[in-house]
Symmetry: C2
DNA sequence: CTGAAACATTCATAGTATTGAATTTAGATT
DNA sequence: AATCTAAATTCAATACTATGAATGTTTCAG
């Protein structure tokens, strides 16, 4: 890992960290890791109320980390930048024991 | 990677993301990855002024991510929680090409 | 003790983020 | 059209973060 490589990237990388710096957003990305899910599914799985959930999803969408697809009255979200999962997995390893998968 | 594992850890993990959500802090951790360094060394390597550097180091120390050791008038910092480096490396991979080391 | 070097701290201000409450839009159903 | 459900938006209050300017502390040299 090279520091001088990181210097020009540090601004963008820090932005990503800011996007991940909320428990609910982190959990959403974690839950979307494997497969796309509807807002309702995410709410049930994570126990998050409607308004906050929508707010966090909007933020993640604005930051380009997730993408949405509508199907009837439901909206399905999916990860838009897979490399984000590497970071989430590193966190999982750090906080939930070292299993990498 | 398991979502229910992450639910109780999400608060702590988000805190870590907040700690990393500043370009200078990110670079400091990156630069301390391999070895401990003095404040002066860090300043020179990263091109950061005295006060901001001290402020970021204080913040990282308050968050428990680095530890300090004094030697004469110099203070040397080192990574206090190695698992942080996994996250930094994931970032490096995401933003600087896929090399993991 | 005095001064210089290396770090740390304080303070004020401006910018961002979080949260809850209320409201609104979009699509489906009757 | 009326209405129900799912999701999105707005708004206001509060709290957090970043930044620069000024100042304080610790250690060593003389």
């Amino acid at each position: 890992m090279n520091v001088s490589d990181m210097i020009p990237a540090s601004e963008q990388a820090a932005e990503l960290m800011r996007a991940l710096s909320h428990p609910q957003r982190l959990l959403v990305l974690c839950a979307l890791g494997a497969e796309e899910k509807s807002v309702a599914q995410l709410r049930e799985e994570l126990g998050i109320e409607q308004v906050p959930m929508s707010q966090q999803l909007m933020r993640l969408r604005a930051d380009g980390l997730v993408a949405a697809r509508r199907e009837g009255t439901s909206v399905f979200y999916r990860i838009a930048r897979p490399e984000v999962l590497d970071v989430v997995e590193a966190l999982h390893g750090a906080f939930c024991g070292k299993a990498k998968a």
